[in-house]
Symmetry: C2
Subunit: 305 residues, 2 copies
């Protein structure tokens, strides 16, 4: 089991936990109905460098839509995207990013948006690996998802990214159906257009599923506390904190991206997937810290062995 994991402490801690909750009559037995496991997406199930893939999708959409918006050439943060000026883009901050999301993700029906995402995923290629983004899924994590499900767990994605973006790929990439995916969202409105009911995406934030938002989102969507949580950045800290503070057996795991050769090496100073507090506190909180370099036999399915 878990063939892409090296036989180190990390792998053993997973197997030991699953055995414990699975042991009928044991002190730590958990009935299958309560075996809920939650996973962050960016940096935990697939890569997130040089930037969150949904961010790269946003930039590509801005470029594609620019001819219809001549004013963007002189207007930040659009100008920064069109000129590939990452410094100006960073200066625009969270606020600038939200503005870009609204300009590219709203004022269309949910069906139109889904089509746009699928078209992009089918054609765009990752700058480092020159492969579709959908190839950048971590093989050890796919094995972990399958292993947990084979042991009665129900697996959920709790993403800081857009819920409808992640849902277009969750079933195909991870075997996780859309109703087991939560994420950040914009407001959606019901309308009857020419006799046909549609849901229209509005340029207005609904929910940010990150940091403190993750336990809130889990409570909203799942309605009970999971027993295991998997993340990689400080955006996952409160999720792990809340999950592992529950009664009974609990499991928390953080992936540390320390493999510049096979993937990327980043942590405390990264724009995407910053890991600082989690790196300091994981040991004293009893969370498993995974070194991609040491604990994973391979990172991607396409690697030559």
């Amino acid at each position: 089991m878990l063939p892409s994991w090296n036989d180190s402490t990390a792998k053993r801690s997973i197997i030991e936990f699953v055995a414990r909750v699975n042991k009928k009559g044991g002190a730590d037995f958990v009935p299958p109905m309560d075996r809920i496991a939650v996973f962050d997406n960016d940096g935990t199930l697939w890569a997130e460098q040089p930037f969150y893939f949904q961010g790269l999708f946003v930039f590509d959409r801005v470029r594609a839509l620019a001819p219809q918006h001549p004013k963007w050439k002189n207007k930040q943060p659009f100008k920064a995207v069109l000129e590939n000026d990452m410094k100006a883009l960073a200066a625009a901050g969270q606020h600038g990013l939200v503005e870009l999301v609204m300009a590219t993700h709203a004022d269309m029906t949910t069906e139109e948006f889904e089509r746009t995402v699928k078209d992009w995923l089918a054609t765009a290629r990752h700058p480092k690996f020159n492969r579709p983004y959908t190839d950048l899924v971590y093989q050890p994590m796919l094995e972990l998802l399958a292993y947990l499900r084979a042991n009665g767990f129900k697996t959920f994605i709790v993403s800081g990214g857009g819920i409808e973006f992640v849902r277009t790929l969750s079933e195909r990439l991870y075997g996780i159906p859309p109703e087991q995916v939560m994420g950040s969202s914009i407001v959606t409105k019901f309308e009857v257009r020419e006799g046909r009911p549609v849901l229209v995406r509005e340029p207005k934030l609904d929910f940010i599923d990150d940091h403190e938002g993750k336990p809130v989102g889990i409570n909203k969507f799942i309605g009970r506390r999971p027993i295991a949580a998997f993340g990689n950045s400080d955006g996952d800290f409160q999720m792990l904190e809340w999950v592992t503070a529950g009664m009974g057996p609990r499991f928390g795991l953080i992936i540390h991206h320390d493999d510049a050769e096979r993937e990327f090496a980043y942590d405390r100073a990264s724009a995407a997937g910053k890991l600082d507090r989690g790196l300091d506190e994981a040991p004293k909180r009893g969370w498993t810290l995974v070194s991609m370099k040491k604990d994973w036999k391979r990172v991607f399915a396409f690697e030559k062995n």
Copy 2:
């Protein structure tokens, strides 16, 4: 199958639909993954008269909390509840009801709220039937839920009521786990209290899962369009409209409460569960209209046969 349903058109329309989506190689075959069925709760799965049960819970909570709030004696809408003045309560309208909900459902952790609901459900009794509210579940609908699940459907509740209220009973009453329940909600906030992470319910509306909110809620929680929808009031109209407007085989059903003897008779003029537009439009939209009186052999499991 469906033993509590009379052998009438309504029952036959259900069985015919399920057979159609189940027939491998048939024109209307639907893969199990897309067999999503959504159910309203109040008036569809359990009773809602003399008023929504969660409303009756709110009134009981106001009475229980009144000694700690001496000013409520002279302040509407609290005064109306304490004096059982239904006319003044109706005059306070939706706004008054929201105020009562905030005073009784907020400023506590999610765990404290769950305990309050469970205590109430265990002790309160329905004024007409003198039984716990949890006995007021419709036997034909329990059979329908089981029948659909046996045919590969995943069943969800889409309630106008409070999501955390319905979740305390959904598994036990209907076999539906909390993560397959959506409803109206108030804002929840993550906090660390004395080193312990908790979720605190705030006196602020988050989402109203009724009328236009039902398709919006379904899209948010499930992420795709169900193929079957079951309701009883005009609060379910847009849900049925959106579900049955999708491509491929679709099924919509409305329960008409026309049985004053075994349950209650109400429709166009009712304060709870008003059914007006749905009654007019069901036939031309191809929705099955269930007469409780004619189509159900029995309503509750406790009835003598």
